[in-house]
Subunit: 445 residues, 2 copies
């Protein structure tokens, strides 16, 4: 088999987290394969958080927001075609037509084109001055516009909207944050866990409006942007950031492989599309979310990396498990670290009898831990953390607990390192689990 494929050509389309990781892992595992990495961006390894770091003064330029810096070493023996667009995929001849007129043959094509912020319902979302921030190019453009702007509207108060709204507010801009739902990070955060965030947002004097669904953006005669919402309210600003849902960027595959209604690429457990020579990973695909026992679209860096590694192992002949997600997000804004894992209590309540506790330790820690479990079995369904200290590592313990089907009982009697002052959160998680267990079996309220 090694002989046969000595000249096997694998082309990877998209060189962000998924594509880059896949290329590197394939290179490591198969020294003889010809690996080609194509991206329309010149800097495909840009971390989408770059603009936040810049406005929070953590970096002084977006060129410092690259995922991996030792470029030479990293790209060793990977043929990189960056800054080139693929115009067309010719699946019969297994050929890609590039924007410079050249073509590239593939034995197997791995699609990792990722996702982009897209609004299907806002009229004028493509107006000049309406910005997105995911790639280096769009972030650079956004930075140029924002540096000249004072009044900025951010559309969408999910994690991305909260992040950039906070960053711009911190940098001195007058920020208006508009959210269609009744609270920020609506999908992943229960109302009680939103309260500290809402308090901090109110205190920051950022202008936050909930229940305001933007329906139209127009350019005024003064070259300002005017946003009109469904309720008829209008907001006039210098620039708009579109922080709405990310959608898979599968345009190149239209008509070539099966797509879902949301344009994600349909793949089997081994990331293979309906064309056996074409694979898809990262933000192009759905993953299995145990919480809802169904496929789920969740564009996250860790899922991009994991799906890329799994496909590389699979193509190299090594067994891999099915890609599963717990729907876990982490963020830092308005003075808080926040983590949301699995189902919210609101959501879980639709499917099963649930029990939850929200643990408040001694006030000086400024920490809330919410745990949600099945009332009957105690299996953990979800967890939410908000803390002034970094709680993301503790959150990752809970991601693992939920993945491993742990119960409140298991977690309550679980061993842990308790070094007073240095690992207080471990003790608090222990107490939260104890509280959940006691509440579930009726020992306390």
């Amino acid at each position: 088999m090694t002989e046969k494929y000595v000249n096997k050509v694998i082309v990877i389309l998209g060189a962000s987290f998924a594509g880059m990781t896949c290329a590197q892992k394939l290179r490591q595992l198969n020294p003889n394969w010809d690996i080609v990495l194509i991206d329309k961006e010149i800097h495909p390894d840009y971390v989408p958080n770059g603009l936040n770091w810049y406005y929070r003064h953590e970096i002084s330029g977006l060129n410092q927001a690259m995922w991996q810096t030792e470029e030479e070493q990293r790209l060793q023996n990977i043929r990189c075609l960056f800054g080139l667009k693929v115009e067309k995929i010719n699946k019969e001849d297994r050929e890609l037509m590039l924007s410079d007129g050249s073509s590239v043959y593939y034995d197997q094509l791995i699609c990792a084109m990722g996702s982009q912020a897209e609004s299907t319902y806002i009229d004028g979302a493509d107006a000049q001055g309406v910005l997105t921030t995911k790639t280096y190019a769009t972030s650079q453009n956004a930075k140029q516009v924002l540096d000249k702007s004072h009044k900025v509207a951010v559309v969408g108060a999910g994690i991305i909207g909260l992040d950039i709204a906070y960053s711009l507010h911190e940098s001195g801009k007058a920020v208006t944050l508009l959210e269609a739902q009744e609270r920020p990070d609506f999908r992943h955060t229960d109302p009680d866990m939103s309260l500290p965030l809402l308090d901090a947002m109110a205190e920051s004097k950022l202008h936050f409006f909930q229940n305001q669904k933007v329906e139209k953006i127009t350019v005024t005669r003064e070259e300002k942007l005017c946003l009109r919402t469904l309720t008829g309210d209008t907001f006039t600003v210098d620039a708009v950031i579109l922080a709405v849902n990310f959608r898979p960027d599968s345009r190149l595959l239209t008509g070539l492989v099966d797509l879902s209604v949301d344009n994600s690429v349909v793949v089997n457990d081994y990331f293979q599309t309906s064309d056996p020579n074409i694979y898809a990973i990262g933000d192009l695909i759905w993953s299995y979310f145990k919480g809802l026992n169904s496929a789920y679209y969740m564009p996250l860096i860790n899922q991009a990396i994991r799906s890329a590694q799994m496909l590389a192992y699979h193509l190299s002949g090594h067994a891999v498990p099915k890609l599963k997600i717990t729907r876990a997000t982490g963020s830092k804004h308005f003075g808080y670290y926040r983590a949301n894992i699995g189902l919210t209590e609101l959501e879980a309540g639709f499917y099963e009898d649930t029990v939850s506790v929200t643990y408040f330790p001694k006030e000086q820690y400024d920490l809330r831990i919410k745990l949600i479990a099945n009332q009957k079995t105690g299996h953990l369904l979800g967890a939410q953390l908000i803390s002034k200290e970094n709680c993301l590592a503790t959150a990752n313990q809970l991601v693992q607990a939920i993945s491993c089907d742990m119960t409140d009982f298991d977690l309550a009697f679980q061993d842990f390192i308790y070094t007073a002052r240095e690992s207080e959160m471990a003790y608090m998680l222990h107490q939260a689990a104890i509280n959940l267990y006691e509440k579930r079996i009726g020992l306390c309220e």
Copy 2:
């Protein structure tokens, strides 16, 4: 049953972490029981790390090193007899004789007297100026002596010795640290994971001597202390801190219940001693250590708390699992956070075929993650972390992984929150697990 025991008297002997936790949990679960908490200390809730915090300038007095501060609320409805010594346990009459001449009856006696630093082999270990630091009284005494001392010897470079040696060194004292074994934290840290610590110790100019087993301490004519080691070397100092092994303080139980050769109290899975009315928890007992498939003595705060909660549940009629430990320790000294979990590679090698990786991420993170697994099955056996950033929460994820019988494969494909810059350690743990898996199945060296 509630009726019968409406006047049930539970006496808890020792009010440190184990005793205090047990009293509070019993009080919560059984409003009618009479709960008596006895301790010879006036401040039994002292955290043994107090002296470290004081010399590291994190607190300004040892009275700030109490575990729980809201004393009134906490001790509500618990009869506390602090500063009173139990002279004798009369098990026939279920009676304790106290140092003030009074006596206390018990239906059930819970022993939580804890442990103390004890050397059976150092001649002169009880000399004036030879200090221990576990209780408020001994720490207060140590502080008085140390405040007047410049040259201090610390005997034993386990975690406690390393902690106090670092604290005293930071406060400007000339510290000599003597370790009988060939490296610091010998039992829990493999040689390769000791290197960054040894480098930092050397850089600090603290005087560290390995392979120096102290056999005798004498008081000189100048009222200094002279330590002589097995190799014949001598060290003359103003004060000595005994940071040697902790031993169970079970003296009161001698002849009353079965003790092990190390004087720990023999208990069944429900913490019951050979006298059915007497229980023992915390540092008095051994716990089950899966890594060695045997009982193991490990005096740790978390085990004190967990055994106390478990006994309280059990006595209140609720099911509890068997107390298990992963042998997990955390510490912070010489600029590093360190965590050691489960078996070391050296140790595991005696029992099974093992594979390990030591992961070094990009240098700026100053982090090493070592993972040890069974070569055949990939089950995680141990983990060691050393980092300039707090890695104890990540270590707790590994404690949980080992408790849950996870394999390298499970951990490598485990979901995790990856927020660049804010949860880099999660990505590094992922990569470490990937490396371990690849090494085990022969994909890399």
